[in-house]
């Protein structure tokens, strides 16, 4: 794994109206890493992801993409390097999977350029990698939540970007689909993609992340390997949940077991 950072924020600040939600964030995302951002609700983790992706305006500091200020990139050049799966993406009624994934080719096409063989093979490879090739002719509405999420990931892959930013990709999915999506992210990471995801479940974060970023109240409290960060004392401090941490019997990664309130003392 190279340690060169693809995406970097320096003293990044952002506001929601008068409220400061990012209070000077410094973060570097190494190439080939799978970074998971966790933290209590309203700690600014989605805003951080959105600011990194230029979906939320920053009010100070800078974001660097491959060492250059991200604002200096032309939007379509940026889109070829960095793809985002935002929360609440919409699709027109009745769209079929292949056509939605094909729209991911947008930054590679222009008004007068017809659909090329390169576009077609990129689209097919993206559906193959996301495991949705069988669904190509189905409408998006006819799919389950987990399948839909994989289609959106396929669309992001068709974009041809090396960096994927995923904002709560497992929210609203049942457990098997959550695992499906995370396994897909993990496989994409092994295939060389740099991945950043916001997740809620600490155990899932610990299992899949190569780097963990823990936020609270608009600041980064700690970042590093999950096994270094996730200690009972730290979890109690950030989430106010007394717990014990054991080694996951399958992976050896930290597994958090919350204590019951009555047994906590």
């Amino acid at each position: 794994m190279s340690t060169k950072s693809r995406l970097e924020a320096q003293a990044l600040r952002a506001h929601h109206g008068p409220h400061e939600v990012l209070k000077g964030i410094d973060i570097a995302l190494p190439a080939g890493s799978f970074t998971v951002i966790v933290g209590p609700n309203a700690c600014g983790k989605s805003t951080l992801l959105r600011s990194l992706a230029q979906l939320h305006p920053s009010s100070g500091g800078s974001v660097l993409l491959d060492g250059h200020p991200i604002a200096h990139y032309r939007p379509r050049d940026r889109a070829r390097l960095l793809a985002v799966l935002p929360q609440g993406a919409e699709a027109p009624e009745g769209i079929i999977v292949a056509n939605l994934v094909a729209r991911g080719r947008h930054p590679h096409r222009s008004l007068f350029q017809p659909w090329t063989a390169a576009d077609q093979s990129a689209m097919e490879a993206a559906m193959e990698a996301a495991g949705v090739s069988q669904l190509a002719e189905r409408t998006l509405e006819s799919l389950s939540g987990g399948q839909r999420q994989k289609v959106w990931i396929a669309m992001a892959l068709a974009q041809g970007a090396d960096i994927l930013l995923l904002d709560e990709p497992t929210t609203f999915l049942d457990l098997s689909h959550q695992i499906d999506v995370l396994e897909l992210c993990s496989a994409l990471n092994c295939a060389g993609k740099t991945i950043v995801a916001v997740l809620h479940d600490l155990n899932q974060a610990a299992r899949y992340a190569s780097r963990l970023v823990v936020m609270r109240a608009g600041e980064i409290l700690a970042q590093g390997l999950p096994e270094d960060l996730l200690t009972p004392g730290f979890i109690d401090e950030v989430f106010h949940v007394p717990c014990i941490v054991i080694a996951d019997p399958l992976t050896g990664k930290p597994l958090i077991v919350p204590k019951r309130a009555a047994l906590a003392n």
Binding site: R74, P75, A79, L82, G94, A102, P107, W115, A136
Partner: protein, 343 residues
């Protein structure tokens, strides 16, 4: 892959794709309607006579008759295409089949602006510009009243309906107080009548449509990206805010052009994009098919307006309003059937 025939609209496996077939059908239907419209009127002609007149082989009187009928047909096609396209742009921008410029008062605003210019005795080109200014004014009022950047789209549509009603009432009041000659012209214009279109007004309108139509059609790629939500569009490299502004201005220009040519004709911009979507089977609103359908729809409505109660001619706006009313009832019915909230 079969799904991609819809994407690229190309000919595959020796058979034409559905969107291409629809385009061809609309072109042919439009052409047949043009010829039929030329035969209609107080003096009925046969198609053969029309062909001969167009080729210059008929008696001068008949040839003149056909030449008189041409501007009206041209106006119906131009205004219909402009309305269909602007409807598709605004319905995409507002993500709502009710977010159409005729529903949210932009054509009423355009008419108000054009009427003021008419009262001031300005040249046709300036009247056209004033129509754009009026539409822009109505658009700004709706946008600001709905809360500007943080506007909720459903609220924007409700406020648009109110602003449209206000502009329409203003138009009525101006007709009431205007000098008689201008009031007569304006009253006819406000009905959405194609009968009063002269060749000069049509030429000015065509001059506006010339750049606006290609500009609007060229938005197809941006529209496809915006349909996925602003965040997704942004991540595909389409700057959402400036793209929305561009689409809105082009849509307003198209609405103003149609209003300038034929008055505030309702329901074409509302129906054409949805009908074109159903015909082509596409996801999202197809821009070129919407424009084509709008042109054919308005021409057909005008033909009906001329023959339904012949020898008395109806304003074309009355015909589109009848069809539009039926469509609205169907639309609300389908929301109720699917138990969707009335957006």
């Amino acid at each position: 892959m079969k799904g991609l025939t819809a994407q690229s609209g190309t000919i595959m496996n020796g058979a034409m794709s559905r969107p291409a077939l629809c385009h061809l059908g609309l072109w042919l239907g439009g052409l047949a309607l043009v010829l039929t419209s030329l035969t209609l009127g107080t003096v009925r002609l046969t198609p053969v006579q029309v062909f001969h007149a167009l080729a210059g082989h008929e008696s001068p009187a008949l040839q003149l008759l056909v030449e008189w009928r041409l501007p009206r047909i041209g106006a119906a096609l131009a205004a219909g295409a402009a309305l269909g396209l602007s409807g598709a742009l605004f319905q995409t921008l507002l993500r709502n089949p009710l977010g159409s410029p005729d529903i949210i008062g932009f054509d009423a605003g355009a008419f108000g602006g054009a009427f003021l210019a008419l009262l001031a005795g300005l040249a046709p080109a300036l009247v056209a510009l004033a129509a754009f200014g009026g539409g822009l004014g109505a658009g700004l009022m709706v946008y600001l009243a709905a809360g500007g950047l943080r506007a909720d789209r459903a609220r924007l549509i409700l406020i648009g309906i109110a602003v449209g009603a206000a502009f329409s009432a203003l138009g009525d009041w101006m007709i009431f107080v205007a000098p008689l000659d201008i009031a007569l012209v304006a009253a006819n214009w406000k009905q959405g009548a194609l009968a009063g279109v002269d060749i000069r007004r049509l030429a000015n309108g065509a001059g506006m449509l010339g750049p606006l139509l290609p500009l609007g059609l060229a938005c197809a790629r941006s529209v496809q990206a915006l349909e996925l939500g602003d965040d997704k569009a942004q991540s595909l490299g389409v700057p959402a805010a400036s793209t929305r502004l561009r689409l809105g201005l082009i849509g307003l220009g198209l609405t103003a052009t149609a209003t300038f040519i034929a008055g505030p004709i309702g329901f074409v911009a509302l129906i054409a994009p949805q009908a074109a979507r159903k015909l082509t089977g596409s996801a999202g609103l197809p821009l070129s098919a919407s424009a084509l359908f709008g042109a054919v729809f308005l021409l057909a409505s005008d033909a009906v307006a001329r023959i339904a109660l012949a020898p008395r001619a109806l304003p074309v706006g009355a015909v589109t309003a009848c069809l539009g009313g039926a469509y609205l009832i169907w639309l609300f019915g389908s929301w109720v059937r699917r138990r969707e909230p009335l957006r």
